[in-house]
C-alpha cells in the first residue's frame, strides 16, 4: 500500500493542486471503480458509453479541481458530476434506449448501495493489512475459520475474536468518517 493511499480525500486534493502526479494517479485509482459502478450498475450504460463518461468525469475533475470549495467533499462532487454526465449520455443516445433506463426509485437504491459499498471500501483501506485480509477472507471469499487459521498461521481458536475486533475497528472508522480527518491504521 502506497503512502498516498492513506491520505484523506482533502489531503489528496491538496497534493493534486500542487501538481503531484502520483497524487493524481491515486485520486483516479481511488474513484475509478466508483465512477464506473455508477455508470454501469446505476445508469446501466453500455461499456462504450461508460468509458466515455469515465474519461469526461476525470477530465473535468482535473480541470476544475481548483473550483472545489470543500476539499473533503470530493466524493459527493465526483458523484454529482458522474450522475450528470450519465444523464447527458442517455439523452444523447436518444429515446430508442429509454426502456433500458432504470426507474427513479431503483436508480436511487442502486446509487445508495454503490455509495455505501465504496464508503465501506474506503474505511476498510484504513485498517491494518491483517484486518483487511481476515475480513476479506471471511466475508468476501467465504473461507472457514480453519482455512483462515491455516493460511494466515493463526491459532484456530482466535480467528472469530480477531475478526470481531477488526469489525469493531471498521465500525469506529465508519462512524468517525464524517466527524473529522481520517484516523490512523488500526
Amino acid at each position: 500500500m502506497s503512502q498516498l493511499s492513506t491520505l484523506s480525500d482533502a489531503e489528496l486534493v491538496q497534493r493534486c493542486r500542487e501538481g503531484n502526479t502520483d497524487a493524481w494517479n491515486e485520486l483516479v485509482e481511488r474513484f475509478s471503480r466508483y465512477v464506473y459502478a455508477v455508470c454501469t450498475r446505476g445508469y446501466r450504460l453500455s461499456e462504450e458509453d461508460a468509458d466515455d463518461v469515465f474519461q469526461e468525469v476525470f477530465t473535468r475533475v482535473f480541470t476544475h479541481l481548483d473550483t472545489l470549495r470543500n476539499d473533503a467533499a470530493l466524493r459527493p462532487w465526483i458523484a454529482q458530476l458522474t450522475r450528470r454526465l450519465c444523464l447527458d449520455s442517455i439523452t444523447k443516445r436518444g429515446r430508442e434506449q429509454a426502456t433500458e433506463e432504470p426507474m427513479a426509485e431503483e436508480l436511487a437504491a442502486d446509487l445508495a448501495e454503490i455509495d455505501e459499498a465504496f464508503t465501506v471500501r474506503e474505511a476498510l483501506a484504513t485498517l491494518s493489512d491483517t484486518c483487511q485480509e481476515m475480513l476479506d477472507r471471511f466475508f468476501a471469499r467465504d473461507q472457514s475459520y480453519r482455512t483462515i487459521s491455516d493460511e494466515l498461521d493463526l491459532p484456530s481458536g482466535t480467528v472469530a475474536s480477531r475478526i470481531a475486533r477488526c469489525l469493531s475497528k471498521l465500525r469506529t472508522e465508519l462512524e468517525g468518517r464524517n466527524e473529522g480527518p481520517r484516523g490512523s491504521r488500526g
Partner: protein
C-alpha cells in the same frame, strides 16, 4: 433439474416436504438448516449481549454471514443430490458409457462438496456458539448451548454424507476435512454444554 427454493417455504411446509418421501430435501438440506438455526441463535445471543460484551456486534455479524451461507446450502445440496441421483439412474443405459461415467463422477463429486461445506460451516457456528457461551449475558447461556448442540449435529450429519459419497475413499482429503470439522464442532459443543450445566 432444479429444486424449489426451500427458503420461500413456511417451516411447516418445509417439514412436510421433508417427510413426503421424495428425493429431496433430505439429510443434507436438514443438516444445512440445523447449522443455519444454530448460527441464527448465536446472532440472537450476541445481539442481546451487546451491552456487556465488546465483541458482541462483530460476532453477531459473523453468525449472520454463516446463517445466510448455510441456509442457501439447503437448496444447493438438494440440487446436487438430485443431479447425482439422476446421473446414477442413467449409469447403465446404452450409448456413450465413458461420457456418462465422467458426468456421474463430476456430479457425485459436487454432491460431496456441498455437505463438506455444510460441515465446515457447522464447525464455525459451533466455535461462535462456544465464544458467545463464554462471554454472553447469563440469561442467554442456554441458547448458546442449544446453538452449539445444533451446529455440532449439523456438522456431524454433513460429515457422514461426505463419507458415504461414492467418490470418497478412506484417506480422501475431503473426508479428512469433513471429519476434522465434525470433531471441532463436537469439541466446541462439549465445552459449551459442560460450562453451562
Amino acid at each position: 433439474m432444479e429444486t424449489e427454493d426451500y427458503l420461500d417455504l413456511r417451516i411447516d411446509e418445509f417439514l412436510d416436504r421433508l417427510a413426503e418421501g421424495g428425493r429431496a430435501p433430505g439429510g443434507g438440506s436438514a443438516a444445512a438448516l440445523a447449522v443455519a438455526f444454530a448460527a441464527g441463535l448465536v446472532a440472537m445471543v450476541a445481539r442481546c449481549s451487546r451491552g456487556s460484551w465488546e465483541d458482541a456486534a462483530g460476532v453477531a455479524a459473523q453468525s449472520l454471514a454463516i446463517k445466510e451461507r448455510a441456509a442457501q446450502l439447503a437448496r444447493t445440496d438438494a440440487d446436487a443430490w438430485q443431479q447425482a441421483s439422476a446421473a446414477l439412474g442413467e449409469a447403465g443405459a446404452d450409448g456413450d458409457a465413458e461420457g456418462r461415467d465422467r458426468d456421474l463422477e463430476q456430479k457425485l463429486g459436487h454432491a460431496a462438496a456441498v455437505p463438506l461445506e455444510i460441515a465446515e460451516l457447522g464447525a464455525d457456528a459451533a466455535a461462535l456458539a462456544a465464544l458467545v457461551g463464554e462471554y454472553c449475558e447469563g440469561a442467554y447461556r442456554a441458547d448458546a448451548a442449544a446453538a452449539a448442540a445444533l451446529a455440532s449435529g449439523g456438522a456431524s450429519a454433513a460429515a457422514h454424507l461426505v463419507q458415504v459419497n461414492l467418490t470418497v475413499q478412506e484417506g480422501d482429503e475431503r473426508l479428512k476435512r469433513a471429519r476434522a470439522s465434525e470433531q471441532a464442532a463436537a469439541e466446541s459443543a462439549k465445552r459449551t454444554l459442560a460450562s453451562i450445566r
